[in-house]
């Protein structure tokens, strides 16, 4: 929990310095997943990030969507690890499934 607020502290700093920021949050998990519901990853418009939504497997894909959200202002709901094949594609080899919500900080 202090973890989550440390991430928001960073978001605050980025916003104060005029950067575009998006926050990604794990909102649902099934099976074994590396990070619990509520885990967050914040991304600024240069792609710098703080926090995590997985053990490192899906961060790349999430950052791409976060940058898109900063650009168009729309929230996004991302599903990872639905099938074995997709799990392999995004690198969620741990076998779990996670749903991640990405939104721009306005």
């Amino acid at each position: 929990m202090s973890d989550a607020l440390d991430i928001l502290d960073q978001v605050d700093k980025w916003k104060a310095s005029g950067k575009g920021v998006a926050v990604a949050t794990v909102i649902t998990t099934w099976g074994s997943s590396p990070r619990p519901v509520g885990s967050q990853l914040a991304v600024d418009d240069s792609g710098a990030m703080v926090g995590s939504v997985s053990g490192g497997c899906i961060e790349g894909a999430v950052v791409t969507e976060a940058l898109a959200s900063i650009a168009d202002g729309k929230p996004r709901l991302l599903d990872f690890g639905v099938t074995d094949e997709q799990a392999w594609d995004v690198g969620l080899a741990c076998g779990g499934k996670v749903q991640v919500f990405v939104e721009k900080v306005s």
């Binding site: 916003k15 649902t28 519901v37 509520g38 900080v105």
Partner: protein
């Protein structure tokens, strides 16, 4: 997420207030739901506010379906706090161990020679009488209190005040005999049998602890157990009264 929302979440942390951030996934509309009020776009939606308050009780963040809309409820509860009464030897072991377990630790002792930050690096030290310090701190449901001074003058007012609060754990160091005498004294001070029964005394799990560090482990083991049982009970499905 709005920048103002982040400010509000940080304020809630600073004042140790529980808050739930409800977010509608279709359009990122939000509400900040506190125990006593709700603010934001979704604050007028009674179903969202009710679901958020339930999540606050269990302390678990989750996604719920309300009227065909997916709502994510992110629960921000204040970190558990441990208040140690008595800046004694056991406290010097207990404070760093509790910090390692993510407790927000405060040591309270009115005696200046004991309550020094030298003896308790990195921990809040309050040089006041416990009951007065408690009034300022406000003991909530995520607070545990342990008295360690062995001195009724210091321990008794702390216990009296802790038993009248919402603290989820109250423990008192001392043998069975000490504890029996304590019961008599507190009864005279108006503490009922039921209230007294909330005190874990002799304090800690019975693991044959002898050294200050071992006693600290037994106390923390008991606090963790009490907290886990309480959360289990809260998240268990409620059985309708007959």
């Amino acid at each position: 997420m709005k920048a103002e929302t982040i400010v509000a979440l940080k304020e809630a942390r600073a004042s140790r207030r529980a808050v739930v951030l409800a977010t509608r996934l279709s359009d990122a509309a939000e509400a900040l739901v506190y125990p006593d009020k709700a603010e934001g776009d979704l604050a007028a939606d009674a179903a969202v506010v009710a679901a958020a308050r339930r999540a606050m009780e269990t302390g678990r963040s989750e996604t719920v379906d309300i009227g065909g809309q997916k709502i994510f409820l992110n629960v921000y509860v204040p970190p558990a706090r441990l208040i140690i009464v008595g800046a004694v030897h056991i406290a010097q072991a207990l404070a760093p161990m509790a910090t390692m377990l993510d407790f927000d630790v405060t040591v309270v002792d009115p005696r200046g020679a004991w309550a020094t930050t030298n003896r308790f690096p990195g921990v809040k030290v309050v040089k006041e009488w416990a009951d007065e310090a408690f009034d300022e701190m406000g003991l909530d449901v995520s607070t545990a209190v342990v008295t360690l001074t062995h001195d009724p003058k210091l321990d008794d007012p702390a216990l009296e005040s802790a038993l009248k609060s919402d603290a989820f754990y109250v423990g008192a160091l001392g043998s069975r005999r000490t504890h029996a005498r304590r019961k008599e004294r507190l009864a005279e001070a108006g503490i009922s049998e039921e209230q007294f029964a909330r005190i874990h005394g002799p304090v800690g799990l019975n693991i044959g602890a002898k050294s200050p560090a071992e006693i600290a482990v037994s106390i923390l083991g008991q606090i963790i157990e009490v907290r886990a049982r309480r959360l289990e009970a809260l998240s268990a499905p409620k059985v309708a009264a007959a």
